[in-house]
Symmetry: C2
């Protein structure tokens, strides 16, 4: 692991790191915030998964998580959203596929299967790297994310309920296999047999029996992707049928940007901290 940068912030250290990822077969970057309580022993880890077009840097710059993470004693890990590099197959000018659009799945189709393995990267390789290099207590993990990263957080938590104590999302894509902005990517990554897509679709995972005890979702009502891409009512219906305790806050007038996320960041950090205590 290589240290790209470190900077003191809110009493802790905000760092950016890179490493040669075996899983994604390319160099990967990620951000980690370590709060000051780390001097007294290992701390719980909160994973934040970012949305389409983002890197680790968007939430690091605009997410406003450090003040409260520092108070609450949370390590916050912010991975990248896809493999990157000149050796990674991609579609320039397509923001919904490839670079910045890994959708937190393991691709099975060529030429993407070699690099696009974000599910394994987030659930296996990166946790091991974090455990080896930071004062992290991996028996206490939680996960959240935004948009495509909300999709990532929900699907990863539903598939690994024993690993994460809590899960939440800002404006998540709750049913990517039926949304116009994700269907083409799913087809390229996973092939045309849509049954295989269900393993990476939060509402369909719930339909298929996966469970997580409780979920927190915030969604802005002025979000331009609400009606076609996000559709939180699909998650609401799936959770109702499955008996999953979903807290869904429709936030009046908020859009899809980090102005929305940063406004409700404190609520989500408190939600996770209470469950990681």
């Amino acid at each position: 692991m290589k240290v790209v940068s470190t900077s003191k912030s809110h009493g802790g250290v905000q760092g950016v790191y890179s490493h040669a990822s075996e899983v994604c077969a390319c160099d990967m970057s990620f951000a980690v915030f370590v709060p000051p309580q780390a001097k007294d022993g290992p701390l719980p880890v909160l994973w934040y998964l970012s949305g389409l077009t983002c890197t680790h840097a968007n939430v690091m710059d605009k997410g406003e998580y450090r003040r409260l993470a520092s108070e609450l004693g949370l390590i916050v890990v912010c991975p990248d959203t896809s493999p990157r590099g000149s050796d990674v197959p991609d579609e320039k000018d397509n923001w919904q596929f490839g670079c910045g659009a890994g959708f937190y799945l393991d691709a099975t189709q060529e030429p993407y299967a070699k690099n696009y393995r974000m599910y394994s990267y987030i659930t296996e390789e990166l946790p091991a790297l974090v455990a080896a290099n930071f004062p992290a207590d991996l028996s206490r993990q939680a996960i959240f994310g935004h948009s495509m990263g909300g999709h990532g957080a929900l699907t990863i938590a539903l598939k690994n309920p024993e690993r994460y104590r809590s899960c939440s999302a800002f404006a998540p894509i709750v049913q990517p296999s039926t949304a116009g902005w994700s269907r083409p990517a799913f087809e390229k990554y996973l092939g045309s047999d849509e049954k295989s897509w269900r393993a990476y679709d939060a509402t369909l995972l719930i339909e298929d029996g996966k469970r997580f005890p409780e979920l927190l979702v915030d969604q802005g009502t002025a979000d331009g992707f609400l009606q076609d891409g996000l559709r939180p009512w699909l998650l609401e219906e799936a959770c109702r049928k499955a008996g999953i305790d979903l807290t869904l806050h429709m936030q009046d007038g908020y859009d899809h940007s980090y102005n929305f996320i940063s406004t409700f960041m404190d609520d989500h950090l408190k939600w996770h901290a209470a469950r990681l205590a």
Copy 2:
């Protein structure tokens, strides 16, 4: 005035605006945050001046001021740092002069005198525009800034003590007329007669009799510009001699970045709010 964008944030509205500036003879952009209390009447205005290379966007993205400004009922105005555009004379690849480096002064030398009039822009044209377009109570104004913008805040407050109820700075350039990174710019903007530079130099303005009742400065000890560019001890000495009540906090381990600024943003907002009440 043209609305570039607006976005709900922390209960208020973060907007970006542009206008054809007469003073700078080019189009200028700026950011304004209006907190929710604006529905009940005009609010005090806090001016934030940014540092070298910045636009209005750096502090808007990374400054973490909205949560508390929203609680305290402060309008926060974030101007750009220089005139810009293809008609504005500049030096490409020089981050210490021209574009992003207006130094909050009125240039007297050709070819810069036509556009580089940031002092008049910040003290005259932009306040009038803000007053005309936002629920702003201009009888209650305060000013702060970072680095070159800290220099701007200090010099503007010292020259207009009746206008600003309070002034503070993060890692300000306190004596630009003797610092290597600002002397070349001062010479190009103001000419080789260094007497004329004193009007835009905080410590020399104090030497020359300008006064402001109290100042708050935060400075990181791990700031790479501390020894050569910033030198807060020069301000400390000038304030001591002049009887100005300077509160200088040397913050252990903090650098020059927005990780430093955002950490101490709350302290500065509370400082100003107490004096704007």
